[in-house]
Amino acid sequence: MAESAAGDSTRNSAPRAPVVAIVDDDPAIRSALSRLARSLGYAPAPFAGAEPLLKAADDAGIAVVVTDVQMPGLSGLDLLRLLRLRRPTLPVIVMTAYPSEASRARALASGAFAYLAKPFDAEQFEHCLGSVLGITRDP
């Protein structure tokens, strides 16, 4: 289901690069974050919404989920809660273009690993992925 470019990414990163699922209904964000993740040495797996991800979540070898909040159908927070039930160990990073204290609190209370306000820069993204996956990279 994922429009995965993971096959290509093996060319640029280690064969066992962690798979980062990127869930956003905006194709421009999907492709930009995939490209950024690849440049950081991850294997991105883009999904256009919560439903496609849930279908693929069990067999795609996903190491971490980065999801937008406002999406048609299930929201990022819905996805977060469902994943907490089905895959309690799968870390989820929540991002939004409409950040607020209330939504940050809700996301963190629901078990999000981190809350990113769009636009965020590569260092934030890298730090976030690195700490969630227990990878310490050179400063």
Binding site: I29, A32, S39, A97, K118, A122
Partner: protein, 504 residues
């Protein structure tokens, strides 16, 4: 919103009622002076002559008879002389009785009048407006037709005249109602009772100058104990100059009505403001979302491109694809802004024929409380006839509201008089408006920047007031700018084309 304005105009009019002004539809020329200015003066000599006439009527018959008696006695007609003396005595007695009765009747009517004045259940004031009447008469005779404009540019002359209006008596009810220690609390110059922010005094002069038969206006009055009340004043206006020495004014305390009205207005304004803030909040959130998304893509693509290029073996293909997306997303962000602007710019604007003078007065009424709080006295005047312009009435009212509040706030620190003068005049195919104050003024180097959004000098101010003014005036095809008032304060000027904004 509309209903409140209508209510405040009809029920608690600050301006002379239509009824009193209706006799003068159309502009008044300098030739047709009001009737009271043309009425023959009742001079003291004439009053004396009238009194002498009455006395003569009473005295002459007995005197004549006595004279006849004397003549008859001299002529030797003793009997006829005695009859005539008798008649003279009778006539004299009758004259005395008549005079006594008349005096008594006069006393009774005086007593009754005094009783009506004293015991009426409404506050009544006797006021001497002679100086004001004479001043208005002199102005009208000298050819000044627009009394309001004349005094708008001479606030000091207006204050001086106000000091010459003397309250000579108030009735018992006035003392009872206000809980004053006695009549003395009210007697003396009217100036003492009207706060400096009063805008009604000049309307009396306007009514005199126009020859209104009666006057009605609502004024804010300072009581002897310093408390402030709203009063509705009504008076029949004199028919000649002599009548100005005693104008009887009735006053109704409308403070409670006003307070209820103000609470309603406040709730209404708070509601409007809340809904405006909600709208602006929702709008800015949606703009933020629309712009943050392409920005997020731009940032991610640009940083990915940089990383591909900085590799020991640069990945030109990846970097180039990322940069293409940067361009695409930057274009998207630009389109979001353009779309938002055109959406807001095309919001339907209510356009109708607008009377700018009325718009200024409505705005003045809307923010009256706040202006009074800052102790600002507002003078509004039109020079000559002002053509109605095709415009958005609410928008222009907003321009006046912002400029009036701005002026009042600018003067809040000073010690001198706090006058805001609004002058409206026609200039060919446009209408020009000046709003000047007696505050500290605006430094020349700041004048261009004050119209920029978020440019605020006030603590807690958003700095949007003047930016909104400029937007609204722009939308009407007009200009707005600021310079110095003759007295050193700030002066704001704007012009609006009479035909409305040019389309296309």
């Amino acid at each position: 919103m509309l209903s409140r304005q209508t209510l405040s105009r009809q029920v608690f009019s600050r301006w002379p009622s239509r009824a009193s002004a209706s006799a003068h539809d159309g502009p008044i020329g300098s030739d047709d002076l009001p009737a009271w200015m043309l009425a023959a003066p009742t001079s003291p000599r004439r009053a004396w002559a009238a009194a002498v006439g009455t006395a003569a009527l009473l005295i002459l018959p007995p005197l004549g008879l006595a004279g006849l008696a004397g003549w008859a006695a001299a002529a030797g007609g003793g009997a006829s002389a005695a009859v005539l003396i008798g008649l003279a005595l009778v006539a004299g007695g009758a004259a005395l009785t008549l005079a006594a009765r008349q005096a008594q009747r006069h006393r009774i009517s005086e007593t009754r009048l005094a009783a009506i004045f004293e015991r009426s259940g409404i506050s009544m004031w006797r006021e001497d407006w002679t100086a004001a009447g004479e001043a208005v008469m002199a102005l009208r005779r000298a050819g000044t037709v627009d009394i309001e404009s004349h005094f708008a540019s001479r606030p000091e002359a207006l204050r001086a005249l106000r000091r010459q209006v003397i309250v000579t008596d108030v009735n018992g009810f006035t003392v009872e109602e206000t809980g004053a220690s006695g009549k003395e609390a009210f007697l003396g110059p009217l100036d003492r009772l009207l706060p400096d922010t009063d805008q009604t005094f000049v309307q009396w002069l306007v009514a005199f100058g126009r020859g209104d038969r009666f006057f009605r206006s609502e004024a804010h009055v300072v009581r002897a104990d310093g408390s402030e009340v709203d009063m509705l004043f009504t008076a029949m206006l004199p028919r000649d100059l002599a009548g100005f020495s005693e104008i009887v004014v009735t006053a109704l305390d409308v403070t409670a009505f006003k307070q209820a009205q103000q609470r309603f207005a406040l709730a209404d304004t708070a509601l409007a403001r809340a809904s405006r803030i909600t709208t602006v909040g929702a709008l800015s959130a949606s703009i933020a979302h629309e712009v943050n998304s392409p920005l997020a893509a731009i940032l991610a693509n640009a940083q990915a491109a940089a990383r591909w290029l900085r590799r020991p073996v640069p990945e030109i293909g990846e970097a180039s694809a990322a940069l293409d997306d940067v361009v695409t997303e930057a274009t998207r962000a630009r389109d979001v802004i353009a779309r938002t602007r055109s959406y807001l710019g095309n919001a339907p604007r209510a356009s109708a024929a607008v009377d700018l003078l009325q718009a200024a007065r409505d705005a003045n009424l809307l923010v009256e409380g706040e202006l009074r709080l800052h102790r600002a006295a507002v003078h509004i005047a039109a020079e000559g006839d002002i053509p109605w312009i095709d415009a958005d009435a609410i928008g222009l009212q907003q321009v006046f509201v912002n400029l009036l509040l701005n002026a009042a706030q600018a003067m809040a620190e000073g010690d001198g008089p706090r006058d805001v003068t609004v002058t409206i005049r026609a200039t060919g195919d446009a209408v020009a408006v000046d709003v000047s104050d007696t505050g500290p003024g605006i430094a020349p180097e700041r004048r261009a920047r004050i119209f920029e959004p978020f440019h605020s000098t006030k603590a807690g101010g958003m700095g949007m007031g003047l930016a909104i003014c400029r937007n609204l005036i722009d939308a009407h095809g007009g200009d707005i700018w600021a310079d110095a008032a003759p007295g050193g304060g700030a002066a704001f000027h704007f012009t609006l084309p009479v035909a409305g904004p040019a389309h296309g």
